[in-house]
């Protein structure tokens, strides 16, 4: 509920709209309350008194009320919906910028699908609550109090009888929702299961057919389908045991009013007009009870959604600029790892255990190791995607944590192991870090990454759309675009994380040559991470990482002589090399 209060806090931003909605709501309630009084006047002083003027006058007043009701009704729903859109807008903005700035460790542990649910359906849930349910609850409450007061003033005995419908209907609804909540979730669950089976049968149609599984799948689906119908029938039972009785209650109250009220009219203590008016008010009693009943579960859901949304908003950002952080603007080429230990959040074992080394200016370093050995972690720490658990990383003697994040990351270019393409054009994909880079720059890096010729061969060249709706690219082509993307940045230090693994051998060798040249000419340091020894022979130094430790370092030749592990890796790669996918 605290989170929901914070959502209400956002309403402060839309003070005028909130005021407009509230005023409309109150005026609408007043107009609604006036309508039966006009009935009374028209019947008692017009019809019964045979006064045509009053009849016409009342009719005209009713038209006025109709207009007023229309306007206020519009005002309340328009402003309420507009506010809800504003609230959703603000929440989305808050959550989105938070997700964008949360550190890698958060994203390692969070599931993307869950983050997406929160920023989409959870916020939509809150929006519906603000735009519809909140309005319904408030207006229902106001209406109930207003109408109850009027009824008590008009005829307290009759009022007490009529108002009994509120607790009774409330109780029925409460039972309905409390008792059947498990049933409703069961329906959702079974429907979800059924859709899952349909989905996996569409997705895995080949497997199903290859294993001649069709009869079994049909049987399974039939079974689940029947189960679903069975639960549906149960909910129908629940519905038929609740709502007809609520309607009956409201009808019985009408009868009580006609009976008692009629008797009072016969005794001369009540007029026919009053009786009709009283009866008309009854509509405004049952409706609010139903609305509040239906809004209750929505409020509970919205509260849960708000909790989940604020969980993200309140999540601490682990990696931030230290106070007084300085920009990283010059690179001398001396990177020092000082007894670096690092453990990923939630992991049992440290990923790095006391790694120490120092680079010389312009040195080209290769990092070699098995999957999971910790070789990518080394560069992740350099870029401060994570901070070391123990020890320190320095560039030219200065701790990386003293630099501002933006400057550090803008001067260190990295090509990730897994390539991500964004929907948009090839130009936009390469110019990811510099969205307004001139085309000539983009072409230049594309040439270096050996992807320019391919792009030129496409009918729309650099304007070709990629991503879900665009042209399909092979793994190797994607990697080359990722390389170009990084080459376009203002890197002084360049890191390639296994970034030509899917490129065919010939092209990979050519790219490697060009990159070697660039790394020597343009960078103060460069790192190449690889699983395959063949890609790193030209490095000045190879760091061999094994189970989080720096197992050996040296040139290819030195390591062949001194490191048994290196020899073993070399041998295993000779025996069973992976053929890269052909046709890239």
């Amino acid at each position: 509920m605290d989170s929901l209060k914070r959502v209400f806090g956002i309403l402060g931003t839309y003070r005028l709209w909130t005021l407009g909605a509230t005023l409309s709501l109150l005026l609408l309630t007043a107009a609604n309350a006036v309508t039966p009084q006009l009935f009374r006047r028209g019947i008692d002083q017009g019809i019964a008194a045979k006064n045509l003027d009053v009849v016409v006058m009342t009719g005209l007043l009713m038209v006025g009320v109709a207009i007023a009701r229309g306007l206020f009704n519009f005002g309340q729903s328009y402003w309420a919906e507009a506010i809800s859109q504003g609230v959703a807008y603000q929440l989305r903005a808050q959550v989105f910028s938070k997700i964008e700035t949360l550190s890698f460790s958060y994203h390692d542990q969070a599931q993307t699908s869950q983050l997406l649910t929160r920023i989409t359906s959870d916020i939509e849930q809150i929006r519906t609550f603000i735009g519809t349910s909140l309005l319904q609850v408030v207006s229902s409450a106001v209406t109930l109090v207003t109408i109850a007061t009027i009824l008590l003033i008009m005829n307290w005995q009759l009022a007490l009888i009529s108002l009994m419908v509120i607790p009774l209907a409330g109780l029925l609804l409460y039972w309905f929702f409390i008792k059947n909540q498990p049933l409703f979730s069961q329906v959702q669950e079974r429907l979800g299961d059924l859709n899952d089976v349909l989905r996996e049968n569409l997705l895995g149609v080949r497997v199903v057919k290859a294993f001649a599984r069709e009869p079994v799948e049909m049987q399974r689906y039939t079974q689940m389908n029947n189960n679903l119908v069975a639960v549906y029938l149960k909910t129908l039972s629940a519905i038929r045991n609740t709502f007809p009785f609520i309607f009956l209650l409201s009808n019985l109250v009408t009868l009580a009013v006609i009976g008692f009220g009629g008797a009072q009219v016969i005794e001369g203590r009540f007029t026919i007009g009053e009786l009709v008016a009283f009866n008309a008010y009854l509509l405004f009693i049952v409706q609010p009870v139903l609305l509040i009943g239906f809004a209750a579960p929505v409020i509970a859901q919205a509260a849960a959604s708000a909790d989940r949304v604020y969980e993200i908003v309140d999540a601490p950002i682990e990696i931030t600029n230290r106070p007084g952080a300085v920009p990283f603007d010059r690179c001398g080429g001396r990177i020092t790892f000082e007894n670096v230990w690092f453990r990923y959040p939630g992991a049992a074992m440290p990923a790095l255990q006391g790694v120490s080394f120092e680079t010389k200016p312009n040195e080209l370093i290769a990092i070699l190791g098995m999957t999971g050995s910790g070789k990518s972690t080394v560069v992740n720490l350099l870029l401060r995607f994570y901070d070391v658990t123990q020890g320190a990383i320095r560039i030219d003697g200065r701790d990386v944590r003293d630099f501002s994040l933006e400057s550090l990351r803008s001067l260190i270019g990295i090509v990730f192991q897994e390539t991500t393409l964004f929907s948009g054009t090839l130009y936009e994909n390469i110019a990811y870090a510099k969205p307004d880079a001139p085309l000539s720059d983009v072409i230049e890096v594309a040439k270096t990454a050996h992807i320019h010729d391919f792009i030129e061969s496409l009918p729309e060249g650099y304007d070709t759309l990629v991503g879900e709706r665009g042209v399909g690219l092979s793994g190797g082509q994607k990697q080359r675009i990722a390389i170009a993307r990084t080459l376009l940045t203002n890197y002084k230090i360049l890191i390639l994380d296994d970034s030509t693994s899917a490129v065919d051998a010939e092209t990979a060798a050519q790219i490697q040559q060009d990159l070697d040249r660039i790394m020597r000419d343009r960078t103060c340091n460069a790192f190449v991470i690889a699983q395959r020894i063949s890609t790193i022979q030209s490095a000045d130094r190879i760091l061999l990482i094994d189970k989080g430790k720096l197992a050996a370092q040296g040139t290819h030749k030195e390591l062949m002589r001194t490191s048994p592990l290196y020899g073993a890796i070399l041998e295993s790669q000779m025996k069973q090399p992976l053929l890269t996918p052909m046709g890239t």
Partner: protein, 593 residues
């Protein structure tokens, strides 16, 4: 926002025939329908009679001061309402049950059709597109029809009941009050047209916003590494604001809709009060009549509001229904021939005799391909993407029929045997390993649902997955939810392999995975595949040298033709395409030794 009608973007091309075909689904319930409809009509009638009796009581009991008569009337009304309650109760259940059973039958028909359709259909209509459309259509129909049919029925009859009652009580006043109904209908259709244009904009903006959210949230690491966070937030801000503004714009229309209907309704009330009052004053009507009309007019509102809402829902549901009927009418291209026999136990000879094939007429994917695999041989298929390797496999499994030539297994044309009996004897391990909801054991026993636990475990051991499975919290009974998300790529592959082991096929088809698997699992996968291939005729789309060197025949496929064939050693000697490929890919490593 849920309360405004929006005209659907796409209407069904032929609503009439779609609806009447849907009504055909009601046939099995012919006996139950009269009762259900009777309940609906009775419920509506008791509702319609109430105001009349109240009005009558005012004129004939209350005004003359007949207290005993009033009490009698109240008792009578109570009974009427009780009957009404029972009728509504019956209506909710009877109508609801029929609708749910009809929908279940429709879902069933869809599922069965999907099982019958040949693989070609799913290739043609892009799987993702078909799937999302179908799932969406099914859920729209479930929702719209599940809720709206009972509501539409109930409300239509109430409305008719009210209109009839009014006309009967006082024709003139009835005619005047009913004038508002066509006005409400016109208003509804005008609003739904206004709303359509605006909602088209909101659909676009929300689509753009969602796409941006999805992409950016899944690539936060890139954004941070490339210092693009600020740019992304600004870009998002623009879309977010555009979406808000479009929605606020649309709300303008939707927020005006119900008030307009309510306005018309109140206007009708005013008309009743004024004209009815005039009639009463001049003696042409009674106070009771006017009262009854005031009550009736107030009851207009709900049915019309509900009908207008469901009108639009029903429209999109009918459009979905039409697409579903199209699917149900889709011809099944690949059927067992009328005199197809059950494939006897296979020994494992596989032959392609001058096979030519294209997925669409005029296209040639395979061009006069000849293959002959002797029982127990391993055939490696090598070649660039799109050369036709997967097509060869599709034809062995008879996912498609050849355009020309013949595919023979044990000298039997695959078209002469039943599909089930053929495929049940062929094992199949795909690159993307699809797991199904259900337990690990059920997934392993996918091809042999009645396999014993011991058999399942034995297969799991052969596939090197037993140890991993026993480490799971519930062992073999561990459920694998929604696509088996909890397992790694390598573990999924092991399960796929065990699946194939369990059916003990004579012919095995294997599409080697190229995606990287962690080193440890990689070893397990290699061993499992080796065990699986033993003593079976196998076709392997090969990416690994170890597979190729062991193969009895290496077939190099290029542009739909087999350009080279032989053992690894023979092909190396030929110094042709294969030798080149081999040298290129191994060059780097060899230089070092």
């Amino acid at each position: 926002m849920a309360n405004a009608p929006v005209a659907p973007e796409k209407k069904a091309a032929n609503q009439g025939s779609t609806v009447s075909r849907f009504l055909g689904y009601l046939k099995p319930y012919q006996k139950e329908m009269p009762f259900a409809l009777g309940a609906v009509i009775l419920g509506a009638a008791t509702q319609a009679i109430g105001p009349f009796l109240i009005g009558w009581s005012i004129d004939n009991l209350i005004t003359p001061g007949n207290l005993a008569g009033l009490i009698g009337m109240i008792i009578g009304l109570t009974l009427t309402y009780l009957i009404g309650t029972l009728a509504i109760r019956a209506q909710i259940f009877r109508v609801g049950a029929i609708v749910q059973k009809v929908l279940a039958q429709l879902r069933q028909d869809i599922f069965i059709k999907i099982q019958r359709l040949s693989v070609g259909y799913f290739d043609k209509s892009e799987a993702g597109d078909l799937m999302s459309r179908l799932l969406n259509d099914v859920s729209v129909i479930n929702q719209a029809f599940g809720q709206s049919i009972p509501q539409i029925l109930g409300n239509t009859f109430s409305l008719i009941g009210i209109i009839i009652a009014m006309l009967l009580i006082n024709f003139q006043l009835g005619l005047l009050s009913n004038l508002v109904v066509p006005l409400m209908i016109v208003t509804t259709s005008v609003f739904s047209r206004w709303a359509r244009a605006r909602f088209r904009v909101t659909r676009t903006t929300i689509g753009e916003l969602s796409a941006r959210i999805e992409e950016d949230v899944s690539s936060v690491k890139e954004a941070q590494a490339f210092n693009r966070v600020g740019y992304n937030i600004d870009a998002f801000e623009a879309l977010n604001a555009a979406n808000r503004d479009a929605n606020v714009d649309a709300v303008m229309v939707t927020a005006a809709f119900l008030p307009s209907i309510d306005f018309l309704n109140t206007l009708a009330t005013a008309g009743v009060l004024a004209y009815g009052g005039y009639l009463a004053v001049t003696g042409a009507a009674t106070v009771g009549t006017v009262t009854a009309f005031l009550l009736y007019v107030q009851q207009f509102f709900r049915p019309i509001q509900i009908l207008s809402q469901f009108y639009t829902q029903a429209q999109s549901a009918i459009a979905g229904l039409e697409r579903i009927f199209l699917l149900l009418d889709e011809p099944v291209l690949l059927q067992d021939s009328p005199n197809a026999v059950v494939m006897p136990p296979i020994t494992g000879k596989v032959e392609f005799d001058q096979v030519t094939f294209g997925y669409v007429p005029g296209q040639t994917i395979l061009d006069q391909v000849n293959i002959c695999a002797q029982p127990g041989q391993m055939i490696a298929l090598v070649g660039p993407t799109g050369a036709g390797k997967s097509t060869i496999i599709n034809l062995i499994l008879r996912f498609y029929d050849v355009t020309n030539g013949m595919v023979k297994i044990d000298d039997q044309d695959v078209r002469d045997v039943t599909q089930g009996s053929l495929r049940r004897q062929i094992g199949f391990v795909l690159q993307d390993n699809i797991l199904f909801s259900g337990t690990v054991a059920e997934n392993l026993a996918f091809g042999r649902p009645n396999a014993s636990q011991a058999e399942i475990e034995a297969a799991a051991r052969v596939a090197n997955v037993h140890e991993f499975v026993t480490q799971l919290p519930q062992g073999y009974a561990t459920p694998l939810g929604g696509g088996g998300a909890a397992l790694s790529q390598g573990q999924r592959q092991l399960i796929s392999i065990a699946r194939a082991v369990l059916i003990d096929p004579r012919i095995l088809i294997l599409d080697e995975a190229t995606s990287s698997i962690d080193t440890q699992t990689e070893g397990l996968v290699q061993d499992a595949i080796a065990a699986l291939l033993k003593n079976r005729t196998s076709f392997v789309i090969a990416h690994r040298l170890s597979t190729i060197t062991q193969a009895n025949q290496v077939l190099v496929v290029q542009q739909g033709q087999i350009v080279e064939s032989g053992t690894h050693a023979q092909l190396m000697k030929q110094s042709g395409v294969y030798a080149n490929l081999y040298a290129l890919q191994l060059g780097a490593t060899q230089e070092q030794s």
